[in-house]
Symmetry: C2
Subunit: 543 residues, 2 copies
């Protein structure tokens, strides 16, 4: 395929661009294979340099002989292009539509992005299962690294290396995999150093309507529990949904066959329900009407905060089982690739101070989302505006980031990273020049050679100039577990993300700039030879 | 009257006190004339030292042979006393009820409070009309200081000195006073240095049903406008309410008789409506049920944020008239002692950077609230819990503080004071050991000798140890006008006040403590001889 075929018009003059917080600007609009550019030629830089992949939806209307294209981005920004000439406008619109909905992953921008300062190797191998296992083996020898999934032979959505209990050999694991949906057998997600309890994740057992059993599965789970200890299975489906799943061959762990495991059903919404919640929320946030009543009604009707609350509450439950009840936990829903990962990752943030550091959080995203097989490509194919409503899209990862933000508000000194860090992860999960969030699992990434042919987001985020933008100046390591409040009154709208294009962030940035300035002064005084200036606001804003 | 008569039981042993964030404690409960004390005798200090005036409502219930008194405070805290013996419990309850509803102002605690470190003279004379006038005369000679109200002869709710236009002599002022409700003739509230425009305030004109006129009133207002300039009258009542007021002898300035003055009706709720809004809001905040939907519905139904929005929007309008339209403004509703003062003071905060400093804000409270005759005693007689529902109570001042808080959130570096400063003003307006907020106007304070017999809150707040608790470490003087956003999405619940007893503020304090700590380090490095330690958290919390 040639990109050129898709570009009906590559250049239009006298286009007026309007977007939040900036004066409208007139210039030449260019369409390249991956970008929408607009330049007034007044300065040295383009006024607009927009990744076409970031476009979620476009709308056209005509005013006289001009056409106006509303460009709605996945990062929630809405901008307007006024294009002289109806024909030109239609051509631009058609080109954007074609280029923004390219299905072939290998045609996407990360495969073409070659910045001078970053190289292809960096960042891909910093958070491996091997590294995780090395850390783990300092504390326990109950778990081993298995390569049963080499070449993704047993489970297509798992990585090739996984941490499993020493009591199960690879043959038994294969049997367990056959008994779990899509082969997702139970694996170690988190080891709690203070008491040796663990969090595991898997998919549902395939008991079916007849209550099929799997000896290997039962003994795997039995072996995880220490003598006389109870464990908890947190099923992210309602008990009804779990029963219904049996008809389609799925099911759940019965009390009779999994003694000492106590099953708790904590339904968490996902898929279409969650996607509609996001659409309604963004609609409410963009509502220009002026009434508080209407705003609060729409916020309530979106149910977004209710979903946040449910997810956080259930994550707290999992963490409590481990830390307070001293019990191990297995978490799954159906496939174990969405709500399951929300819980395992949030529970770790609650329990483990390492996950609240910048590199610890990156490792968590690698382990619990990327390697664990969250379908980023399907889930993040569009965000809040797309009319296409792809069946598999759902802001599973975004709402996880929102839960992290809620915790960081409640514990403002306990997180090494700041809000721009979480927002950057949101943006890059939906549209990126980096390869990290491409594809749906490690196997797909392997086939497309993503790790050899694209740049890792971690290489960029951890570069010196970039990293300092993400540091919370108030951070002071807190080795305690952090128990977030989930009272309705304490959960807030994530203004920094959902209102970022509606209200100018300038004043908030000013405050952080001030804090950074104070820090820098403080540092400079202790080290007078250091002449480094403080981070200027432009850097901090990411403008 | 003897306090002793009101105290049915002065001491009960084995009382258990439960309150937010603290472990229950058992000890001896004592009632004195002004305080409720509880001591376990475990430490050197009492566990409870509660000003009885701070009690808004109490409720009794019995459990076995014990009685439980729920103590609901004006600062919104709710605590429980478990008292052995029904008789004792009833006696304690009766004593609290009697002592907390004392009507005689001169029996209140400020008349008995004599701390060693503060003296009676301090703080009373720092913000006088004379001082205000001295400042003003540096910029204009269009205004003069009038003592027409000496001995409060013309207007009981005005101070003895007022700033009026030089074109009106005192005889004319008396005529104007007769034409304005309760004698509240137009006075200068704010002079905008950059363009010479002013904000004035008054009460409604007594035009009555027959459209009575007052030559002096008309020429006073005409004189204020410069040639060819227009002025705006912002009436805080709806046009209907203003028309209805005529029947009772009130009214408004007609276009015909007040040429060049343009009347804008911007209704702002007050009185019972505002009081009920507060009760509903506090009820919503204390609701322990666990649903986001219910919380958001109740928050919406309380209408509190809608009131905040209306007030802020109208204050912005007044400020815009002055700063953008270059027009002078007269603000009044009926009496001009409630909504009028909200607008004049908020407009000044928007326009004048001096009002955003600690002492400037104190001066503003003095000028625009205390000297301007806001009926603190009537309005703040109870807060959100009282069953008595006194007719005149209304959180007019509290919602003004809320508007200030909203602005300070939007402009986090532009205010020299912090949230604890605003919360302290709220607390002391409702119940205080200081005399500042006693009575309803200067005349009442004069009669009771308040300024000779009680301590001023400013003396305390400006003492070295106290003042540093109120400093915003991020403050950097901003000489621009600050235009707050009033979009519904940007106005937030004042969690620090309304949820302060529901969610532990510990983590937020930690963040500010961290900022203060950094500041202190930075200061100490620049001045190594300064060995002052940083403000410890206890000080910061006000515990």
């Amino acid at each position: 395929m040639e990109f050129a075929e898709l570009i009906k018009t590559s250049k239009v003059d006298h286009v007026v661009l309007s977007r939040p917080f900036l004066q409208p600007v007139k210039g030449t609009l260019c369409i390249t294979s991956h970008h929408l550019l607009l330049s007034s030629r007044a300065g040295e830089q383009e006024e607009l340099w927009l990744l076409i992949r970031n476009i979620d939806a476009i709308e056209k209307r005509f005013a006289g002989s001009s056409g106006i294209i509303t460009v709605k981005c996945k990062d929630l920004c809405v901008m307007y292009l006024e294009i002289p000439g109806m024909e030109e406008c239609l051509n631009i619109a058609r080109s954007i539509e074609a280029l923004s909905s390219l299905e072939s992953t290998s045609h996407m921008y990360p495969f073409f992005y070659r910045p001078k300062t970053l190289n292809l190797q960096e960042g891909w191998d910093v958070f491996t299962p091997e590294e995780q296992f090395t850390q783990l083996s300092l504390h326990t020898d109950n778990w081993r690294l298995s390569y049963v999934n080499k070449d993704y032979a047993v489970c297509t959505s798992y990585p090739d290396a996984l941490i499993v209990h020493t009591s199960v050999d690879d043959e038994a694991l294969k049997a367990v995999a056959r008994f779990r949906q899509s082969g997702r057998f139970p694996v170690l997600s988190y080891y709690h150093k203070t008491n040796g309890m663990v969090i595991m994740r898997s998919s549902q057992p395939l008991t079916g309507a007849n209550g099929k059993r799997c000896k290997e599965d039962e003994s795997f789970l039995a072996a995880v529990l220490q003598a006389d200890k109870e464990g908890y299975i947190i099923d992210t489906r309602s008990i009804q949904a779990a029963h219904q799943a049996k008809v389609k061959g799925g099911g759940f762990e019965s009390k009779a066959n999994y003694q000492n495991w106590k099953r708790l059903h904590r339904p968490i919404d996902r898929g279409r329900v969650l996607q509609e919640s996001l659409s309604k929320l963004v609609d409410a946030c963009n509502d220009q009407s002026n009434s508080i009543d209407r705003w609060l009604s729409k916020l309530e009707a979106s149910k977004w905060l209710s979903h946040v609350k449910t997810i956080l509450t259930t994550a707290c439950l999992a963490a409590q089982c481990v830390d307070r009840e001293e019990a191990s936990v297995l978490i799954h829903g159906s496939e174990g690739r969405d709500t399951t990962l929300q819980l395992t990752s949030l529970a770790q943030i609650i329990l483990d101070p390492d996950c609240r550091t910048i590199s610890g959080f990156q490792a968590l995203i690698e382990r619990e989302w990327l390697q664990a097989g969250h379908s980023f490509q399907l889930r993040c194919v569009s965000s809040a505006y797309s009319h296409a409503k792809p069946r598999q899209e759902a802001p599973v990862f975004l709402i996880f980031l929102d839960c992290c933000w809620q915790m960081s508000c409640q514990f403002p000194c306990s997180f090494q990273f700041n809000e721009p860090f979480l927002i950057a992860l949101f943006e890059h999960a939906y549209a990126s020049c980096f390869g990290t969030f491409l594809c749906n699992n490690e196997k797909e990434r392997f086939i497309l050679n993503v790790k050899d042919q694209t740049i890792s987001i971690w290489a960029w985020m951890n570069s010196l100039s970039e990293r300092k933008r993400y540091v919370n100046p108030l951070y002071e390591r807190n080795n305690l577990t952090i128990w977030p409040s989930v009272a309705p009154q304490t959960l807030q709208l994530w203004q920094g993300l959902f209102l970022r294009w509606n209200q100018s962030p300038e004043r908030q940035h000013e405050a952080w700039e001030q804090i950074n300035h104070i820090m820098e002064q403080s540092r400079r005084k202790s080290n007078p030879t250091n002449t480094g200036r403080c981070v200027p606001m432009e850097d901090y804003c990411g403008n």
